[in-house]
Symmetry: C2
Subunit: 275 residues, 2 copies
């Protein structure tokens, strides 16, 4: 099994999931860029957003994701009642192997537990959805110079499916030069599993973002910048479920990962690139 | 609306679908390579395989396709009871806009009609699945020299979902040189919506094909070759539902397109490339 870096040194995805399952690891996932990591550690494993829904609305959610794949690219779907993501980590258990979860009931957060055993039912279906943290790895590996500004609610409508409709959330990145921005488009295009190419280039206002300095979802790694200049800023679809998403408010129980506490898979990011 | 070439000259995808709907066009779809077509006509529209299933098994089929996307890349899914493929052709009707269909009941062909109005129900769900005829267009446009040998049942198991399991069907193409084969891998990699990169290179026997000269599904355009030499032959996943597919035999009613009578969409093949 290959390894990923941690502060104590490299461990495998399976070992990391074991520690998470045992509640020995409840914080943010380790960065693939830990200083001093050995060359082999530069291989980074794909991390996934999680959405758990009852089977009754799972097909509607498939349609919603299919129609808005720049935001919600499905990488794996579990069979109803089975917590095993067969494509991405066949020995994993989505009920226990993320550091923390958010449980919603009809749109309101009712719990933020470290496992979801108590919320898992025979009709539960888990979706693993690509995270832009993965193409951030690809950008950094290629030496692209940029800052992540944050994630924002936009006025870009998602194409609805039956019970799901709402606007797209995007992540914004500011690049050091045109060359960096062009390279980012090339690199992200290789990764349709992680949002693919940008959905917008140009003024933030054109997609309904009033102030780039005030992200709706700070991503934590970089301070949001004061933004008088939109040059070299690009916007990608984001897997965060928008606050505008209808459907989620009608669903008796919907579970997501807690922000930053994604699912670690056995698949390398580079392995999931289309070329 | 842009145009596609026919023997009488270019017509739009919408006009072609109108003629098919009116049963004025019941044969194979026009080739995008019609001699004498104007330059604008070289733009080729994506054509799709069709599978129509009852909602009760639609989610299982989604899982099956998701797990075997090299063969069954879903490009659009209709809402239950709606015949409109919203992503690919929002004015189309999958019940009438293909030249011919095959209707199966518990695995046996019971009808090959020119429309499926009589077989459409409130719980019918249509899947549009990428066809390798589309990356053939991309290969030819790039001047790649090759012959399509046909489609073959293999011993490559698909990853099963609940009621669906079986082996993969592949298409085989023989290239004139290493350069052509390498270029084909590059070009097909751009088209994950149309099977993406090959699933096999090497001896046909290694994936359970006994005789390349005897395709299970002749594709019609080229004679199968006698095959003493596997050099420069590559194999791609194929959207044909394998004869080995379990599940289809249990389904009361399953509809596909008739071979070669695919669904014409409004989307250009080149527009659907990931880069």
């Amino acid at each position: 099994m290959s390894t990923m870096p941690t502060e104590e040194g490299p461990i495998s995805p399976a070992e990391l999931r074991r520690r998470i399952r045992a509640n020995e690891w409840t914080g943010p996932l380790p960065s693939p860029r830990t200083v001093g990591a050995a060359p082999a550690d530069s291989r980074a494993y794909a991390k996934m957003n999680l959405v758990v829904l009852p089977l009754a609305v799972a097909f509607d959610f498939v349609l919603f994701c299919q129609r808005n794949a720049r935001a919600y690219a499905i990488a794996d779907i579990t069979e109803p009642g089975s917590p095993v993501p067969r494509l991405l980590a066949p020995d994993a258990d989505v009920r226990t192997d993320l550091p923390r979860y958010r449980v919603f009931s009809r749109g309101s957060i009712i719990d933020e537990p470290h496992d979801i055993n108590a919320y898992w039912h025979a009709d539960s279906v888990a979706f693993l959805i690509g995270s832009s943290s993965c193409f951030d790895w690809a950008l950094r590996t290629a030496g692209v110079q940029y800052e992540t500004l944050g994630a924002y609610e936009t006025a870009l409508p998602c194409l609805p499916s039956r019970c799901f409709a709402g606007n797209m959330v995007v992540t914004a990145r500011r690049f050091a030069s045109s060359q960096d921005a062009v390279r980012a488009i090339q690199i992200s295009s290789r990764h349709p599993a992680f949002h693919g190419a940008p959905v917008h280039m140009g003024p933030a206002q054109a997609i309904g973002i009033a102030d780039l300095a005030k992200p709706d979802y700070p991503l934590g790694t970089m301070p949001a910048q004061t933004a008088s200049d939109d040059t070299h800023t690009l916007y990608w679809g984001c897997g965060i479920l928008s606050a505008s998403l209808t459907g989620s408010a009608q669903i008796e129980q919907l579970i997501t990962h807690y922000p930053g506490r994604l699912m670690v898979t056995d698949r390398l990011i580079a392995e999931m690139a289309v070329f």
